[in-house]
């Protein structure tokens, strides 16, 4: 394990400090917690948007704090849900009386911990609503599973819920729009390499020199199948086809595209993948409204990428284009 860290058990602590000292005019760390919030939280007359989850997904989640996106982000240990007391702190610190909206990725840990926090906050008289993001099409969404997991599509939920809140929408309106995003967003990822949780010290799985893993999660979980490394075009095709047929996205649909790096992927490779994704969409008559390429939802030092499509309507477009001054998502 080669990493630029200090004590492997202190990485989240060190990271949060390094993040807060980088942007002291924009964010604050709630004392004694792993919660980072907008410097001006709670923002009056606005539903607060709170997200979070395990660490190791940087810039998720604190990078999305800012006007037009999140009010606070709760950092768990590496790939581990934050605990209910931390989530509760975030809720209390951001609620301006207009209620708090939680964006939760569909992992049993995240869901159970955030839901326990929600129960506690409600017991204290705070209005709380939530959405559960499950955009990963790698796993079949059948009655036999807890359902699909939440990956990079979560960023679009942050963006659009954030824009709604900023525009003065009610808690219910924010929730409705966030659910619309969840219903229209699909993602899938792949990896060339595994990643190592610092405190564990060993890679989550091993891949041979000529192997890649398709349908990878964002926590070092193995994917749905393994095969010889393909070309960028083949990879883009496998991911995009699976996504398109899932919703399905149809000729004439307008979409936002996200090509997301998993942490150790050079941007060059993401652009090469994007080139092919655009071609495929073009051939199918699916209209690209806006494209985002970069590291948005990572998995430590995993090499790989994910593709996300969000089907847009005029309201979603408006929210997507609304200004955001979040550190990792300026619009």
């Amino acid at each position: 394990m080669k990493k630029i860290i200090n004590d492997p058990n202190q990485t989240v602590f060190d990271m949060l400090e390094g993040f807060t000292t980088a942007y002291p005019n924009r964010v604050k760390q709630l004392e004694g917690t792993s919660v980072i919030a907008r410097k001006d939280a709670p923002v009056a007359n606005k539903v607060a948007i709170v997200s979070g989850g395990g660490s190791g997904h940087e810039p998720a989640h604190a990078g999305y704090i800012g006007k037009g996106m999140l009010d606070a982000a709760v950092a768990g240990e590496m790939f581990t849900s934050p605990t209910p007391d931390q989530v509760l702190e975030a809720i209390k610190a951001t609620d301006s009386g207009n209620g708090v909206f939680l964006i939760i990725k569909n992992y049993s840990g995240d869901v159970m911990n955030f839901e326990m926090a929600m129960e506690m906050a409600e017991a204290e008289g705070i209005q709380v609503e939530k959405v559960i993001v499950n955009d990963d099409v790698a796993v079949e969404d059948s009655e036999f599973t807890t359902g699909r997991l939440g990956i990079a599509g979560t960023i679009f939920v942050h963006k659009i819920a954030g824009a709604m809140a900023e525009a003065g929408a009610s808690l219910q309106e924010v929730k409705d729009m966030a659910e619309r995003v969840v219903n229209h967003v699909r993602s899938m990822g792949m990896a060339l390499s595994s990643c190592t949780v610092p405190a564990v010290g060993k890679p989550s799985f091993e891949l041979a020199d000529n192997e890649m893993e398709i349908g990878i999660g964002i926590h070092g979980e193995a994917g749905i199948h393994r095969k010889p490394v393909g070309t960028a075009d083949e990879i883009a095709e496998e991911l995009t086809e699976k996504i398109i047929t899932d919703l399905p996205y149809k000729e004439g649909n307008e979409v936002a595209v996200m090509v997301n790096g998993l942490g150790a992927t050079p941007e060059m490779e993401l652009f090469i993948v994007n080139g092919k994704v655009q071609k495929i969409l073009h051939e199918k008559g699916i209209i690209v409204y806006r494209t985002f390429v970069g590291n948005f939802m990572t998995s430590l030092e995993m090499a790989g990428c994910s593709v996300t499509l969000l089907k847009l309507d005029s309201e979603l477009k408006k929210c997507l284009d609304a200004p955001s001054d979040a550190i990792a998502f300026r619009v």
């Binding site: 605990t83 049993s108 159970m112 036999f144 807890t146 994917g223």
Partner: protein
């Protein structure tokens, strides 16, 4: 046989010890099925409990309050799925014992029933989903059956541990339907579920403590 808060404390301490020893093994199992951290999450949680027991909580005489506090400590230390699962178990169990400085066999029996139920309700898992419920639910059933017949806690708990062990082993063959490992589909078969394993460790170390206590008493 009666259990005091001191008994619970010694038991919890033995759990913390055991999880430390089994840390790598639990991670290894989770590496094959999930994100490889189950040993770490259990260690963090039980070490936090240990630290609490070493300070203020070590003085707690109310068995119920003790268990609830242990649950909360575990919850707020761990994160991950097992935080709410084991915390709910401990807090539900604790509720049964609230206000009691001495716990009799029937109450111990009810404690464990509530413990196992708690996990099932929080996680909404069924037997066969390849989770800790595959250990805890058969264990609870065996406990209940034996207790109803004989009202002998030690023997009932032995039956529970045996059923839990069989349940745990049954997860090897299962295809996962819940949690992270479900994405593996068929590939999840062949490995024992880490949560089912840690749940069995919780039961078996209680059984071990029980044996020592009874041996010392006689």
């Amino acid at each position: 046989m009666e259990f005091s808060a001191g008994d619970f404390i010694t038991y919890f301490q033995s759990v913390a010890d055991l999880m430390e020893k089994q840390k790598d093994y639990l991670c290894e199992l989770d590496r094959k099925l999930g994100d490889g951290d189950h040993g770490v999450t259990m260690s963090i949680g039980w070490q936090a409990v240990l630290a609490q027991l070493d300070s203020t909580l070590g003085e707690e005489a109310d068995c119920g309050k003790l268990c609830i506090q242990v649950g909360k400590t575990f919850l707020n230390a761990v994160g991950s799925s097992v935080g709410p699962l084991y915390a709910t178990a401990l807090m539900r169990g604790g509720k049964i014992l609230k206000g009691k400085v001495a716990v009799n066999e029937e109450q111990l029996y009810e404690f464990w029933c509530a413990f196992c139920h708690g996990v099932k309700e929080r996680g909404q898992a069924e037997i066969g989903d390849k989770t800790m419920v595959d250990t805890l639910e058969p264990a609870r059933e065996a406990l209940e059956e034996s207790w109803q017949q004989e009202q002998n806690f030690q023997r009932a708990f032995e039956a529970a541990v045996a059923a839990g062990e069989t349940g745990m082993q049954s997860t090897i063959a299962l295809t996962s339907k819940l949690g992270r490992s479900s994405r593996l589909g068929e590939r999840s078969a062949g490995t024992q579920d880490p949560g089912a394993t840690s749940a069995f460790l919780l039961l078996s170390s209680f059984s071990a403590y029980l044996d020592t206590k009874i041996a010392n008493a006689s």
